[in-house]
């Protein structure tokens, strides 16, 4: 070996005088993560305290602590912008620490597009509280009424000039100690300096030059490379293991086994991979998965943990019976993978008293709880630190890899390998095969129109996995090792957006919650909301068509919410939508063209609309989405370019999910294990994206990380109908399905 394998140049990167873990942008994060304890001692973390979120330093810097993490979404800079404005500080003096269970408050997993709306708002209120408090102290110090003071660059000045005092001087040696005051006045939008501006992200220069330390890049001295040997079938158990089969591979340290959990441990990464590929093991047969061809019949058949109602108004059944015209349709949405570009990875180290885990998890605190419970430790004995991974769009394999690394490190206690950091890196097939999936969803809809074509009744049934509080996502470390599941992470509120966001006098939404989804289910970007909105908005299009109405006008007829209507109009206008124009493209050409619209309000938050334009190749059945115009109102916009980046990403990713993506499986296991068998959208097929963003700076900010996604599948679907005259109802819209649909019509 050439010296110590790839240790990072650590010491040299410490900026002189930087006593604390600091500015995200200024230092190597591996360094920050490795020696992350501020000199000021353990951090307070209660959610109701300003000092949990903010640390004021003598040199005028302010550190922000958040339990949310930046999964490539830009929340890092956005939260810094919010704090800088609230405290009247230049952005260069604000830095951010995220996702470290020793240092950051537990603000819940980074999910549901709540980082700005909830976590950011909490931090903003803490900053407002601190500012208010510091102004009061400055007033006493300077003998000037607070109303006559202004803050410039962290210094408090009398409005009329004269002696000033800095935040740092006001605090002296006593750190901030302050309950968050919910009533503390916040700045007015008109006074913002950086909120509302497209400030570049601090992580981008490092990411484009190879100097940003990702989870996968963390190398600690003495680190052991581990590869997990996954079972050949979802429920297979290990019968026997031939350790001798890997003995000849130089660098392999040992094969670790606990029940059906197997890890190859090696000094060198390639040796671990060779061991992984070479190991001979015998497993039990297992064929417990449903037949893929009958997947949706399986969903319909149950069994169900419960059947309940997501929303009801009036008497849908009776109104359906008396409607002038009745319609029904069944939609389904395929099982999909997160398919993150970088397979899951984690490093864990057990020093005999404490377990430290580095992970790209979106849920550092929950992961701490899972690891602690798995090992029978108290939570404070476990520290989980976030490092950026490849984008994850929900709970993928990170939490499994984190627990696997911790389990290995713990098992090695007392051996000659004790105390060494363990790096678990999944292989591509592990990620595609074993990440928990976006569950397949079946949705049956019925509606009745009155004599004037308006919707009089609507009823919907959803076949979905159990959700919140009912069914936690099992952690593979525990299931393989035969440890009873003690997990706390569940698939989220996937029944949200099950009720159409229109004025409908009678409606009923029924949820059939499956006892067991076919494969581990989790949330993937806009979980449930996307599937539900797809069916609702495609069906809405069917009704508009039946009523002989323009799809935009028909939606507006049923939409009383002015902000919603404004977003729909904005998208339609930007797209050049003309009522009644080109309802269906020419159909005898080799290429059929169409456009479609969809609208939704994500929960009781962000409004979104999309106009999509498509081309359908008649012979091949291939759909190309050529243009998507997105209308978006998430209230106050913190960073417009960050918002645009998120919307563009959602359009491309969701077009991919709409047209291409479906997990395949046989009775034993997932069979779409690489990018050839689970392809995603590539450059030649990427649509143009245009955005009509309605900024409402005086309103509170809502989420934007997964809202636009919900309108993409129905907008594309409706455009395909517009182009072909054929209504497709099963995602993904692969060329085979399109050809079959076109043939059926002909």
């Amino acid at each position: 070996m050439d010296g110590t394998p790839g240790t990072l140049p650590r010491r040299g990167l410490l900026a002189a005088g930087a006593a604390l873990v600091v500015a995200f942008s200024l230092r190597n994060e591996a360094e920050a993560q490795e020696k992350p304890v501020p000199t000021s001692g353990p951090r307070p973390v209660p959610l109701g305290r300003a000092e949990s979120f903010l640390a004021f330093h003598r040199d005028g810097r302010v550190e922000v602590f958040t339990g949310k993490v930046d999964l490539g979404t830009g929340i890092r800079i956005a939260i810094m912008q919010m704090v800088a404005d609230e405290l009247d500080l230049p952005l260069s003096r604000v830095s951010l620490i995220e996702g470290d269970t020793d240092l950051t408050p537990d603000q819940g997993p980074t999910w549901g597009s709540l980082s700005i709306q909830v976590a950011g708002a909490a931090i903003r209120q803490a900053a407002a509280t601190a500012r208010h408090h510091l102004l009061a102290r400055a007033s006493a110090h300077l003998g000037v009424p607070a109303a006559n003071l202004i803050v410039l660059d962290g210094n408090v000045h009398p409005r009329v000039g004269g002696a000033s005092v800095s935040f740092a001087e006001l605090l002296g040696d006593a750190p901030l100690a302050l309950a968050v005051d919910r009533e503390a006045p916040r700045k007015r939008a008109a006074d913002y300096q950086v909120v509302g501006k497209s400030i570049p992200r601090p992580d981008v220069p490092g990411k484009v030059t190879g100097t940003h330390t990702y989870m996968q890049d963390l190398r600690l001295p003495g680190m052991i490379h581990a590869r997990i040997v996954f079972p050949p079938a979802v429920g297979a158990r290990l019968v026997s293991l031939d350790e001798g089969s890997v003995r000849g591979i130089p660098g392999v340290l040992r094969v670790l086994r606990r029940e059906s959990f197997i890890a190859i441990l090696a000094e060198d990464e390639w040796a671990a991979i060779r061991g992984h590929d070479t190991l001979r093991a015998e497993w039990t047969r297992w064929e417990g998965l449903p037949e893929q061809a009958k997947l949706y019949e399986t969903l319909r058949a149950g069994p169900f943990a419960k059947t309940d109602t997501a929303g009801a108004k009036g008497d849908a059944a009776a109104a359906l019976g008396t409607s002038a015209r009745r319609f029904e349709a069944t939609y389904d949405f395929a099982m999909q993978s997160h398919a993150s570009m970088g397979p899951s990875c984690a490093v864990a180290q057990w020093d005999g008293r404490r377990m430290t885990v580095w992970s790209a998890t979106q849920a550092t605190h929950w992961t701490r709880l899972e690891v602690a419970r798995m090992l029978g430790l108290e939570q404070p004995q476990v520290r989980v630190l976030y490092l950026d991974g490849a984008g994850c769009y929900g709970r993928n394999g990170h939490e499994d890899a984190a627990a696997q690394a911790a389990l290995i490190a713990h098992i090695l206690a007392g051996t000659e390998l004790a105390g060494r950091p363990i790096r678990v890196q999944w292989m591509r097939a592990d990620e595609h095969g074993w990440d928990p999936k976006g569950p397949p969803t079946l949705i049956a809809l019925k509606a009745g129109l009155d004599a004037s074509g308006n919707i009089a009744a609507w009823s919907s049934e959803y076949w979905i996995p159990q959700t919140t509080e009912l069914a936690p996502i099992e952690n593979l470390a525990l299931s393989f090792a035969g440890i009873a599941q003690k997990t706390v992470i569940n698939p989220g509120n996937i029944h949200n957006n099950a009720v159409p966001g229109y004025e409908i006098p009678n409606h009923l939404a029924t949820l059939h919650r499956l006892t067991e989804p076919p494969l581990r289910a989790s949330w993937i970007r806009s979980p449930g909301r996307m599937q539900n909105a797809y069916a609702i908005e495609a069906f809405m299009d069917e009704l508009a068509h039946a009523a002989g109405a323009d799809p935009v006008a028909y939606r507006l007829r049923h939409l009383k919410d002015e902000r919603g209507a404004a977003v729909l109009r904005a998208a339609a206008e930007k797209a050049g939508w003309r009522e009644g124009q080109a309802a269906q493209g020419p159909k005898d050409d080799a290429i059929l063209r169409g456009r479609g619209v969809a609208y939704a309000r994500y929960e009781a938050r962000t409004y979104i609309a999309c106009v999509a334009e498509v081309e359908v190749e008649r012979a091949s059945g291939k759909i190309r989405v050529t243009r998507c115009v997105v209308g978006h109102d998430c209230g106050q916009v913190i960073n417009p370019d960050g918002l645009a980046n998120q919307i563009e990403g959602q359009v491309v990713q969701t077009v991919s999910r709409t047209l291409i993506e479906e997990v395949t499986f046989d009775r034993s296991r997932v069979t779409s294990l690489d990018w050839a068998s689970y392809p995603i959208l590539t450059f030649p097929d990427v649509p143009k994206v245009e955005i009509a963003s309605i900024e409402r700076q005086d309103e509170p900010p809502w989420g934007a990380g997964e809202m636009a996604a919900v309108v993409i599948p129905p907008a594309v679907s409706n455009a395909v109908f517009d182009a072909t005259g054929v209504r497709m109802r099963s995602i993904p819209y692969t060329p085979e399905k399109v050809r079959a649909a076109l043939a059926g019509r002909a």
């Binding site: 050439d2 240790t7 981008v204 060198d268 970088g342 984008g391 690489d674 990018w675």
Partner: protein
């Protein structure tokens, strides 16, 4: 059989010992040179995350045995530029903020570097074609296209 391999990486010559001459270049660059630009995405030559330049050609380092790279000029993302002094393509990616998670971006930039060396004034369609085997899960494509176009025009001007 442990083997010594003489590599020229980002302009400096270095000899490394690998236990297996089939060890992919990716792991040598990452673990022995601490060059983290190239990323492990699939190990199958399917995604492009591991792309480096070998004698100016874009190659998938996950599928290239280190021994086969001996004696050839290897350039990684780090060899193009630094945060302080970025290469025009890196600069264009910063200007366009053409990153979400950024895990794929090494491949996007390295593939573009090889491509722009041959085609100095590409159309958007040509860029799409050149990057068609580089995958991005975050959907950053729209910005990546803009960044590569910007880089082409900046480099043409420079």
């Amino acid at each position: 059989m442990a083997t010594d391999v003489a590599l020229t990486v980002n302009g400096s010559a270095r000899t490394v010992r690998v236990e297996d001459p089939q060890t992919p270049l990716l792991y040598v660059l990452r673990n022995q040179f601490a060059l983290n630009g190239p990323k492990y995405g699939c190990g199958l030559g399917q995604c492009g995350a591991c792309t480096v330049l070998v004698d100016g050609e874009a190659r998938r380092s996950c599928s290239l045995p280190a021994a086969q790279a001996a004696g050839r000029a290897i350039t990684t993302l780090e060899g193009l530029g630094t945060p302080e002094n970025p290469h025009p393509i890196q600069k264009a990616f910063i200007s366009e903020q053409a990153v979400q998670c950024g895990y794929c971006i090494n491949g996007m930039i390295m593939q573009s570097a090889a491509f722009l060396a041959k085609n100095k004034a590409p159309s958007e369609a040509e860029i799409r074609e050149a990057l068609k085997d580089n995958l991005c899960r975050c959907g950053t494509h729209v910005r990546i296209l803009a960044a590569v176009q910007r880089a082409a025009s900046d480099m043409g001007r420079g």
